[in-house]
């Protein structure tokens, strides 16, 4: 039986790719090993680049290809490399420590996904989104990244959370609004790269000063 092409195959493909991003997000939340977390982040960024390329193909907007290439260069290669160096340097124990353990984390993430979908539903209903679900998935990734920053103790995992939020934002910009103009994308990329570097520098200093990157030990300042 021949494969019948659905009329909006493009948008469904984009949905599928964005969903792969969300799945890697879940994998990162359920991950206990720090270096695996970074690898999964690199994988997620790769999926992001693929999504961007698919969007570029179906909407015929070549500038998104550049954004996709930049994503690979910066988020799949450079930033994971920096993070690996940081992990090596600060000699973090290999297992991640949790404020909230994995199973309840997963439940919370599930709830966040539902929240993201119900919040963006009025927008999806307007019907001029490129795809039905990408914006919601993007918001879900942003929220889960936010949650990661709260629920994990190590500075490095908090960086991964921040970077996941950025990935979600980029997905939102590409998959719902055909990507921002190129100059904006470039600026955002530059900022993210610098931000990752700065957090890396801070992590080093934390290690030097506190002999640990466990941020729950930062309790000196309170009322």
């Amino acid at each position: 039986m021949p494969l019948s092409l659905h009329p909006d195959l493009g948008s469904q493909l984009i949905n599928l790719c964005s969903m792969l991003l969300l799945l890697t997000t879940f994998a990162i939340v359920a991950q206990r090993r720090l270096s695996a977390c970074v690898d999964l982040f690199a994988l997620q960024s790769l999926f992001l680049a693929v999504t961007a390329a698919v969007v570029a193909w179906f909407t015929d907007s070549p500038h998104i290809y550049i954004a996709a290439l930049l994503t690979i260069a910066i988020k799949t290669v450079t930033i994971p490399m920096i993070l690996k160096k940081v992990i090596e340097r600060v000699n973090v124990k290999r297992e991640i420590e949790f404020v909230i353990n994995i199973p309840p984390s997963l439940l919370i993430c599930g709830a966040l996904v539902i929240l993201a979908f119900s919040v963006t539903e009025p927008i999806a209903k307007l019907g001029f989104l490129l795809t039905r679900d990408s914006l919601a998935i993007a918001l879900a990734i942003v929220l889960i990244g936010f949650f990661m920053m709260i629920a994990r103790k190590k500075a490095v995992t908090q960086i991964v959370g921040f970077l996941m939020m950025e990935n979600g934002l980029f997905l939102g910009a590409t998959a719902s609004a055909y990507g921002m103009p190129l100059i904006v994308e470039l600026g955002v990329f530059f900022d993210v790269l610098v931000a990752a570097l700065i957090i890396g520098v801070y992590t080093h200093r934390l290690q030097d000063t506190f002999d640990s990157v466990d941020t729950t030990k930062l309790t000196g300042l309170k009322e």
Binding site: L3, S4, Q12, L16, L23, I102, L106
Partner: protein
């Protein structure tokens, strides 16, 4: 569909599952061997293993009851019966009146249940340990499995496997509604790994006391009993791969009993199942086995994903 056709199609499906299942096991082993830079055993090695075991005599402990000898037959028969209810190359299989996805799951459960009892029956420490571990994992995978198939069933509008496959084949498979489908697919993939005792839940290649689950349960078996159990678990593996490929990517499956389409469908199915077997082989080489108490995390992911896929349908698509 005439009487003869019905009989032929059912028989063909049974034969295909029965005969192909050892091959899939061999394929996974080959992929793993290659990734470890080994030559690896012949692809047909599992067939030789089975014939060898079938010819060998049986040693049965004097402490065991009838359960021990009956279990291999029950396991084999129930798995075989389940395989008749899963569409392989034709979406509307002749036996689809006989049961839906719940029947398939309960047939598989029946086999596992008896296997756990048999593990306890011999009274050996390993058997008991294997059974208790299997029970933990089994109780966690089952809900995820049912939920993930239901999530797809909701889009297709039925719990009958045949109807699910038929309807999704008429639509676009996983592209019909990617978010819930992909979540269900991920959940069912994890369930497959857990149910068929693959890395990272269990390692089928070792007999290390600390880690083994399935192998510990069947440690007391030998000869043709062992052959039946091995064959049944190979069939179970193939059954899950078939479910994965035909529920989520039913492209190529025949929706009408036309001989040409069915022949093509067998080819498509073989390609999809082999591809999945390769994926599992790669997966097993990439990941280390999890500690038993970490397995719950993985199964938790599967459960949450399946649940999300289901809620998704009710809240956002309803």
């Amino acid at each position: 569909m005439g009487q003869l056709d019905t009989l032929l199609i059912t028989a063909a499906q049974a034969v295909i599952i029965l005969l192909m299942s050892p091959f899939v096991v061999g394929l996974i082993r080959k992929v793993k061997a290659r990734l470890q830079c080994r030559q690896g055993a012949n692809l047909l090695q599992p067939y030789s293993d089975l014939t060898k075991l079938l010819r060998k005599g049986v040693v049965v402990s004097t402490n065991t009851s009838w359960l021990f000898t009956a279990t291999p037959y029950i396991l084999f028969a129930s798995t075989f019966a389940a395989s008749l209810l899963v569409p392989v190359f034709l979406s509307r299989i002749p036996l689809n009146f006989a049961g839906d996805v719940i029947t398939v799951v309960s047939l598989l459960t029946l086999g596992t249940f008896f296997l756990m009892l048999a593990g306890l029956d011999a009274g050996s420490a390993f058997g008991g340990m294997g059974s208790s571990r299997e029970a933990i994992i089994f109780s966690l995978t089952e809900p995820a499995m049912i939920l993930s198939i239901f999530a797809v069933g909701l889009t297709a509008g039925s719990t009958n496997l045949s109807t699910i496959v038929h309807n999704t084949a008429l639509m676009n498979g996983i592209l019909t509604d990617p978010p819930p489908h992909l979540m269900a697919l991920a959940a069912l993939f994890i369930v497959t790994l857990a149910e068929t005792g693959r890395v990272p839940v269990d390692n089928p290649a070792t007999h290390l006391e600390l880690t083994m689950i399935h192998e510990a349960m069947v440690l007391e078996y030998s000869g043709r009993y062992l052959a039946l159990i091995e064959w049944a678990s190979a069939m179970k593996l193939l059954l899950f791969l078939t479910l994965l490929s035909n529920i989520f990517v039913p492209w190529g499956i025949a929706t009408e009993p036309e001989p040409v389409w069915m022949a093509m469908a067998v080819g498509a199915w073989a390609v999809k199942v082999s591809a999945l077997a390769v994926v599992i082989g790669v997966f097993e080489s990439m990941f280390a086995k999890l500690r038993l108490f970490r397995v719950t995390d993985l199964l938790g992911v599967a459960f949450i994903l399946a649940l999300l896929a289901l809620i998704f349908y009710y809240i956002l698509r309803g």
